[in-house]
Symmetry: C2
């Protein structure tokens, strides 16, 4: 079954809001095993809305339209869809009552135009709105089912889960299941080349790669009648990819980010962590601290932006700063040893670099970054060269720091296992 | 001129990512005075991509396609667009060199498929990619201009600002000039009501409001033959808005963010700043430090996530934490006084709150945040209640902290002026 989304709203065309409804509905439909090949956004204008609906209805079995069910004059979605499907609008008593009830419960008086929301297409399947006044609906014709949902996410999401999912499940046989293998420190083009044999022969499951900053995600997606059968198709492929990339795979769980993988590794090994940041200015700590439960591992960190702060708070030697500069292997190393000593954390990270736009020289260009990681006294310092604007360089640095933390911890654990612990 | 957006990517159809590129590009095009009536999303599949492109090319003057310019096999956008426009792909020497350079700078070896990105449509206008390997381009035919941009926002946004904006400006007859009045601490609905008279009578210049986290941006856009004439149209409206909102206006410069306004205020008054962060975990420092030149004001900051860190680094009293809790007016106040003392900064900010998802209670629910700001000994502590997920609450907190810093400084300056300085 093929579904298509049409999001209605001038605010989307003007870029005033981000289209989170499309992402939510797409994900839900994929989980229900519906194939989605197209999404559209159109404004509150009857003619253009009709043309988009016509196009969608001709190439898809189900069309989900969201937005434009409000009480005001420029809300046209229901009128356009009903007309397109050849259905008259008529008063729906139940919706009338529910709207009246909605206002009385809030000690509010409905305005005249609210009753417009109780005018529904003849024979439509009605979806109750428990969080607003606009009911949702499915208008059914021989060729297509047009589902209309309110635009506000706090109305759309509950309505979708309570009413639309059961409605769609009745229509759809089989399911789609996907699993993501997340790699760090490997380029997308390398992955593409190395998985060519798998990707070229893909039918079911299918394999797709996505590049994120410093990461590559490989999604394996299977269609089957049951979840069990879909899993049978996915498992061997995921296993194969994991074997090929070993430690470069940081998770096979869609919900796990690189920072969460790092925090999980810290907590699982009862390690505490700290950061001393110069050019990233708190961005690395902020990413770690966005992981719920991080308080077991992260206690304190320093933003040491000035040289004085590096000396006073981290004990970086004046001579080191004079001889090698604030952006140097030596300073990064003294920063990491300093913060490890100061906070007594098991794992310490220090970052110093030139984020630009100014401050670059021929010897030390903008984008030069040193990251030091110390795991229980075992210190590693790496040099990086990033390009882009200030924000891009700082985010690339944070991503590189997370990768370095992970690899240093894994290396330390392997040493410990083989009794070479320092 | 009518522009249309086509975002390419299976990850959008599967709902794995939210389509922030569409929002960004729509807003930018609106600012350039281009009308956008349709947006589409299509997967990495040649036939469907072609049908969407054909539909768009027939109803719009400019089609912007983003995504699918990567080196991998499922990246087809360039091939599809070139074929549709009847252009052959040929090697672009300059792009070859730039790609080679990109890899050598990173001590990496390009894989075979990277060179695919140097194959460009004959006669296309090339947009350099300073943050990745995929160049952008404009393929021009008699009927339509098809602009191709890389999908990753950290490549798309700089490319759009550096190369596409100048390209589009050349296409649009006359001058479209816009100025943005940025307000903080005022709700969008309030602004829309208060500016109704201006917005209802708008023709040229037009007035549009955009809500950002804790901010409202009002863009005044005028069309005219010359820059001088456009400015004549814009100035009185901007002046009117500035008069209506006074100190709530933090800038009328598009390039100035709230954090830059705060940093500029600090530097102009030769004040240093520091942050002690708990729930925001470095996010506030990171935003301040994203402003070039901040080193004159920001020297050092602390991330004090644990109670022990609050006591040890900031001197928060054990009794205060026991009696009032880590998330309390009292703790915020002791944190800010502690960091001011420790760093001797003129302006100090302290943040403590419950970002969730866990840790909330009936008395102290998730979203409860205390922010303290101290300007040369004058301390203000405010209580906030935010809703949303962990990230949303933390970003709302950072935005509120910046607004509080600004208002506290302005209040301090006014006192100083009137000789009431504490």
């Amino acid at each position: 079954m093929v579904v298509e989304l049409i999001c209605v709203g001038t605010e989307l065309l003007l870029g005033n809001i981000v289209n989170t409804n499309a992402a939510y509905l797409s994900e839900q439909c994929a989980a229900l095993g519906l194939s989605c090949y197209f999404q559209s956004v159109v404004g509150d204008q009857a003619e253009r809305m009709t043309s988009v609906l016509d196009c969608a209805a001709k190439r898809s079995d189900i069309v989900i339209m969201c937005g434009g069910l409000g009480p005001t004059e420029d809300d046209l979605t229901k009128e356009v869809a009903a007309k397109y499907c050849g259905k008259e609008l008529q008063v729906d008593e139940r919706s009338m009552e529910r709207i009246a009830e909605y206002f009385t419960r809030r000690d509010l008086k409905p305005t005249e135009n609210n009753w417009k929301q109780a005018m529904l297409p003849e024979g439509a399947v009605i979806f109750d709105n428990n969080n607003g006044t606009a009911p949702g609906m499915a208008i059914e014709t021989d060729n297509v089912k047009v589902i209309l949902l309110p635009g506000p996410p706090n109305e759309l999401i509950p309505m979708f889960e309570e009413s639309v999912v059961p409605y769609l499940k009745k229509l759809t046989p089989g399911i789609i299941l996907s699993q993501t293998v997340k790699l760090c420190g490997v380029s997308e083009s390398r992955v593409e080349t190395e998985l060519k044999d798998l990707i070229d022969n893909q039918t079911n499951p299918t394999i797709a790669t996505y590049a994120k900053t410093g990461e590559v995600h490989i999604r394996v997606t299977a269609k089957a009648d049951t979840k069990k059968d879909a899993n049978k198709l996915i498992k061997p492929v995921v296993k194969d990819i994991k074997n090929r990339y070993g430690q470069d795979v940081y998770t096979t769980d869609e919900a796990v980010t690189l920072e969460k993988a790092v925090v999980d590794l810290l907590i699982a090994n009862e390690l505490t962590v700290t950061c001393a940041e110069s050019c990233t200015g708190g961005l690395l700590s902020a990413r770690l601290i966005n992981v719920p439960g991080v308080s077991d591992a992260y206690k304190a960190g320093f933003v040491t932006y000035s040289n004085k702060a590096k000396r006073k708070l981290l004990g970086v030697k004046k001579t080191t700063l004079q001889k090698h500069g604030a952006v140097s292997k030596q300073t990064a190393e003294e920063m990491v040893k300093g913060i490890a000593l100061e906070t007594k954390a098991d794992v310490a990270v220090a970052v110093t670099g030139i984020a630009g736009p100014d401050g670059g020289t021929k010897e030390k260009p903008v984008g030069l970054v040193y990251i030091a990681c110390d795991v229980k006294g075992n210190t590693t310092v790496k040099e990086f060269h990033f390009s882009g604007n200030r924000m891009i360089i700082r985010e690339a640095t944070v991503s590189a720091a997370l990768r370095l933390m992970r690899s240093c911890m894994l290396e330390y654990f392997s040493k410990v296992t083989f009794g070479e612990k320092k």
